[in-house]
């Protein structure tokens, strides 16, 4: 069954902005789904409609098989949402916030106490349980919102840029946490600007831009579509106009004074690049793949449309 099924979804805000222009998506149960797109692409709008925070203009959405028009409450029962912006009652205590959230799903308080401890511990917030939300750091608030979203044990967890403003170490912790959750059967939908994040976590990806899905598929499929691979070379000598001209066929550009980036089409071999270096008598100290592959893909895809 599909966790989420969206057909020709459109959203025009009161301001006249066409935030979604006919989006269709199927997200199977158990998937780890990445939604990638630049600022203003429509990610938060899409998530808002799925979770009941934004009214759609037209189209159909069903959540866990329940149409959000006919059966909004049944669908919401199965979702947990971690929003992009903080939406905590800042004067409430951490523990109360999580327990009250369970209440809105009809979970009895006693049972909620147990789950609250479980998830606050899992997210490293148990020591902070008696603090008011206002006293938490940004990263802690973000984790509190994750704990809050999980308190009723939803089948689907939707996270809107959960790692924004979270340091590298915590981010990795969060990745492991989400991966584990997904392996336990929770469908995860995640929007992100961090492309590394999507590539590491997601099984399937959709790329959204200007309110349209411009590409979707498995991460592998999408990477295959990438027809160029950038490489960076550290050179022994400074880069000159002549150096660049030797590598013109590879779209070379200087990243800094002695690092050059070349873009290698899939049908060419790295050997061809080395031949070009040899011809120019350019010595290479070191070589690595440049920019994240998915990032490159992403840039390609959004540029085309």
């Amino acid at each position: 069954m599909n966790a989420i099924s969206i057909k020709n979804l459109k959203k025009t805000y009161a301001t006249g902005v066409h935030a979604l222009k006919g989006v269709s998506l199927e997200i199977p149960s158990g998937d780890f789904f990445g939604l990638l797109g630049p600022n203003g692409a429509g990610k938060t709008t899409l998530i808002g409609i799925i979770s009941g925070l934004v009214n759609k203009t037209s189209g159909n959405v069903s959540v866990a098989g329940f149409d959000i028009d006919k059966n909004p409450e049944n669908g919401r029962m199965t979702i947990g949402v971690v929003p992009q912006e903080f939406n905590l009652s800042i004067f409430e205590k951490v523990f109360d916030i999580v327990v009250d959230q369970a209440g809105y799903y009809g979970v009895p308080r006693k049972k909620a106490f147990v789950s609250a401890e479980k998830y606050l511990r899992a997210l490293g917030l148990w020591e902070k349980r008696d603090q008011k939300a206002i006293a938490l750091s940004g990263g802690m608030k973000r984790r509190l919102m994750i704990a809050r979203a999980l308190i009723h044990e939803p089948q689907i967890l939707i996270l809107d840029e959960p790692t924004a403003g979270v340091d590298v170490e915590l981010r990795r912790g969060m990745w492991d946490f989400l991966t584990k959750l997904n392996s336990e059967g929770v469908t995860i939908i995640l929007t992100t600007h961090y492309l590394e994040e999507a590539e590491r976590l997601a099984k399937q990806l959709a790329i959204i831009d200007h309110g349209e899905i411009i590409e979707k598929g498995s991460v592998k499929e999408l990477v295959k579509k990438l027809d160029i691979q950038p490489f960076a070379f550290d050179l022994e000598k400074r880069i000159t106009a002549e150096t660049l001209s030797h590598l013109r066929e590879f779209d070379a550009r200087a990243l800094d004074e002695d690092t050059i980036e070349v873009r290698l089409p899939k049908n060419r071999s790295v050997n061809d690049v080395f031949h070009a270096f040899d011809r120019g008598e350019i010595r290479v100290k070191n070589m690595r793949t440049s920019a994240n592959r998915l990032e490159e893909l992403f840039l390609n895809l959004t540029k085309k449309s």
């Binding site: 934004v54 949402v81 912006e85 905590l88 009652s89 009250d100 209440g103």
Partner: protein, 257 residues
Amino acid sequence: MSAEKLWICFYTIVRKEIIRIFRVWTQTFVPPVITTTLYFLIFGNLIGSQIEAMNGVSYVEFIVPGLILMSVLTNSFQSSAIAFFMAKFQKSIEEILVSPTPPWIIVAGYVTGGVVRGVITGVLVYLVSLVFAPVSLSHIGSVISFFLLTSIFFATLGLINGVYAKNFDQISIIPTFVLTPLTYLGGVFYSISLLPPLWEGLSKLNPILYMVNGFRYGLLGTSDVPIGGSALFLFIITACALWLVFRLVKKGTGLRA
């Protein structure tokens, strides 16, 4: 959702609201007690002793019901208006919006929160009034129905205000420019039979008049208006207000873009 789950949703909203009201007790319960004490002192004792009996009761007794009801209605209104607006302002209302809690439970929860604050304030003011005028509860049925209906009605209006409000100013406009004048002109401090016919007629268009008089009847057995009709009228406008706010919340007015 099952009845039990719905009850938990409702209980969660109300519980959270009651805790909030008590956490800020210096802003919720202390001011009305101080203001009404001053009213009783100045209008009741100092000036009231110079005024002859009104509708057959002493002036200080006469103003007790209106002053109680005045604090009930302003506090019920403010409570739900502020609670809902704050939840919108902090976006914590999204906690409920993403949940399966149905709109009618959201309405019931916030209105009940407002009623709780209104009722507690009313009881406190009644206790204060006992110091100045030993008013008994002559018609307990009228006391309870007018007290509760007024509280529910104004908690609902407060919620409507909270739904529409886009900033803090917009939740003080109605209390300042509508509620306070209507309350003062609603027969809290005088019997409308003292007014010239034109003003007496105009006063009868003011819904607060019927609440104050119904409640005064409950406490003192005297009223400027028929009681049964007033109760029915109050019941009908309360039902209409509840229906309206339910429609607004269901539609997502001021909540969902």
